[in-house]
Subunit: 118 residues, 2 copies
Amino acid sequence: MPAIELELAPKTKRPVGEPCCEPIALPTVDGAKAARLARLAKVLGDPTRLQLVDVLRSHAGEVCVCELQPLFDIKQSTLSEHLKKLRDAGVVGVERRGLWAYYYVNPESLEELSTWLS
Amino acid sequence: MPAIELELAPKTKRPVGEPCCEPIALPTVDGAKAARLARLAKVLGDPTRLQLVDVLRSHAGEVCVCELQPLFDIKQSTLSEHLKKLRDAGVVGVERRGLWAYYYVNPESLEELSTWLS
DNA sequence: GGGCTATATAGGCGGATGGCGATGTAACCT
DNA sequence: AGGTTACATCGCCATCCGCCTATATAGCCC
């Protein structure tokens, strides 16, 4: 991931013989930010995880894993791994109470991506 | 991807002996929409592609591939494959003029995801 | 402690993904 | 036609991903 720091070359092209275009580009996003945004997009890039985030988000409070489980026809371990990925990316948090784990969305975690997209 | 169509169960849990919770859930996003959104997020889930979209977007018009190439230290074939994925997802379009290919972003393609995120 | 429950982790497997070099295609020029 | 350029596609390889089964962890109840 190179830093992008220049201005894009003009669109009028040189004749074929000459070197195509020495590039000059402009960034709104440097490498580090692109990496953060892509990491977030990647974790949302699975339908099950996206729907998990959606359910958690539309449900204002916390949701027990045992309530999430029946919404998806995947095994419990698979669901747990999806939740782990979301946790690792900071998209969701957990609170354990007794036997149960309650998940919730960290809304700030989605902000940077949401802002960049719009 | 099962359809999610019910209401989430109340958060007060049953005593341990009983079956955990018969689930009732609520969707803002059905399976098909989740699949579309996830597909889009997935294609943005690579730092190079995300930065490509960013450069194309911040550049109002069309950008020649030869101008994109030097911004990334990847081989030409790799860049071409990234652009293909973006094309296949409908995120970008191309127009060929002579030897050159000019890429541009389809802003509508990002709308659904952007809306869902915010 | 022993048995049961809810969730997490480990290990394995097949398929997808990202990178590369090599080759293909098509436009341009002489 | 032959040579050159810009871009796309192919074939390969190493890694990653999502899924599973099996097992571990930890809280509750007797």
